[in-house]
Subunit: 334 residues, 2 copies
């Protein structure tokens, strides 16, 4: 292994000079800098991460706690992860992957000074992990919105507004009876807040507008989609529009509609709430409120870096939803 000592010797300067030349924290003459850089090149010098962490109290690593359950939304999770990793790269940080249920993980990793900050996905309303997070000296950013976010930064799509946007779009097309096919019951029970926030926005907006509306939790499978749709039609026989917030159920919902002899959008309009690529990857291009997962992941990293480098205060950022009209929505049938 080549060390900073080797470089210093090769360049004919002291160790500290090499360090300063590399970090730029003190002025170094052009000539010296050049000699040092050449030495670094020639010796293929790479600073020892541990040594650096020990001396500088900075690791250039971010912890990302992600729900690695294989059940739902894997694609969406992946997009968040991609957003985080990509943006972290920009800030010269690597990403340490922790699983949701490795409760001790955050503590081990933060208390052991392995990471500079923590990003946590899939936050629940009263998440027990928040207490751990608050106890650490590293900043934390949540993707999601707990009941009490004191001292922690949060970022997420404004799911409440997302529901309102979808409802507004459908109302504008004349629909008066709308069903929301949402997250699985288990997700709701876990009090993952995005699911609840969407439902709340939906309920609120539809009742404000005096619409006929029902909400059905939906299991993430073909069969679950069929059942949820059955229940929705049972409760609201004249429904002409659907808001679907469940990526995995989407294909089942569309197939089931076809099976009932209902055409989209002539008989039933469908608005999805999902990442864009999911919306356009269906047999039919879906009108959708985008979940900008990659972007949200990126913003999470930026917020973490802001707190780290500029000591930005903790804040909550809700990203405004954008609806893109495609082929799955049209005027309500007469």
């Amino acid at each position: 292994m080549t060390t900073i000592d080797d470089v210093a010797r090769a360049a004919g300067v002291s160790v500290s000079t090499v360090s300063y030349a590399l970090s730029g924290k003190r002025p170094i003459s052009a000539a010296t800098r050049t000699r040092i850089e050449r030495a670094v090149q020639e010796l293929d010098y790479r600073p020892h991460a541990g040594a650096r962490a020990l001396a500088s109290a900075r690791t250039n690593v971010l912890a990302l706690m992600a729900p690695l359950r294989v059940d739902v939304n894997v694609g969406v999770i992946m997009q968040f992860v991609t957003g985080v990793v990509t943006r972290a790269q920009y800030f010269q940080h690597d990403v340490l992957l922790l699983t949701q249920d490795d409760h001790a993980g955050v503590e081990r990793v933060a208390a052991g000074s392995m990471v500079d900050a923590v990003i946590m996905m899939d936050v629940e309303a009263d998440d027990p992990r928040l207490a751990i997070l608050r106890r650490q000296r590293q900043p934390a950013v949540l993707i999601g919105l707990p009941r009490d976010a004191t001292g922690l930064s949060c970022v997420d799509l404004d799911f409440e507004a997302a529901a309102r946007t979808a409802v507004a779009h459908l109302t504008g097309l004349g629909h008066r009876a709308i069903a929301l096919l949402g997250s699985p019951q288990t997700v709701l029970d876990r009090h993952t807040t995005y699911a609840a926030r969407l439902v709340h926005g939906f309920d609120d907006e539809t009742s404000r507008r005096g619409l006929n509306a029902v909400f059905e939790p939906t299991e993430s499978s073909h069969a679950g989609a069929v059942l949820a749709l059955d229940r929705a039609f049972a409760r609201l026989p004249r429904l002409s529009a659907l808001v679907v917030h469940n990526e995995a159920a989407l294909p089942g919902v569309l197939a089931s509609l076809r099976e009932r002899g209902l055409r989209v959008p002539q008989d039933v309009s469908v608005v999805a709430v999902c990442p864009q690529d999911v919306a356009v990857g269906q047999p039919q291009q879906l009108t959708a409120v985008d979940i900008p997962a990659v972007r949200i992941g990126g913003v999470a990293v930026e917020m973490a870096m802001g707190r780290l480098e500029r000591d930005d205060p903790a804040e909550t950022r809700l990203i405004s939803p954008v609806l893109t009209a495609r082929e799955s929505t049209g005027p309500a049938p007469a």
Copy 2:
């Protein structure tokens, strides 16, 4: 931050005694050990990862290079990742996530002594990253099978045998005209070897058995599936069986068959090559050769640890395929 010094003082022993008590590398009397453990508890002591890495040349971190492209098989990738993270946890290791195309990543992370070993997914036949891997002092394990694996450990499903198994199953049911709907052309072009190995096994086995067989690359979308199926029928009008090796195209293939008025399995039998949960998550339970992604990820970690701790020699492990018959295959129509 509480350090090992604090613990030593609290327990009334020297620093080195604490270290030995905690690592178990030298005998320590029960009494002393108890006092130390109590002190650790009370002070909530957690060793500084950087310091430990510096002194011991071990980081307890594994690098995992995964293809974070959002395009294909996200679910499958996630399963590999889950397998790796879970098994790593067992070995007290955390996982540093690197993206495929962060070429400098491995080098930075390995040369900088941030990790004890590297696991690399989605290896191509002549992967340029292998050279980098060979240059590092940390062991590397590939998930996949490059042309030349000298010095590197590999693990993967035996895709060649997987194809043979699928073909054997179908032949046993009397099918004589079989199409393989495989990976997208782009994956083939990248020379990701699992795709090619499956095709090779398929070609070889079908010709050995004197069957009518065609192979069609398949784009990972509904539309791609429809097109591939069209081409297959054009080339082999009397085909009665399909082997599908493309998770994302699976729903499209099934839908398209139905649209053609073909029943599964009465008119056409389908064998999928995919993870089990994908096979049983379809509208119809599919007969499938399982891709045991979680397990493979776990084995990769075990191999890495073996090399690290027992200096096991590099080896290549191909996992034997297992076919589970479900509802999508039946006797060939008369």
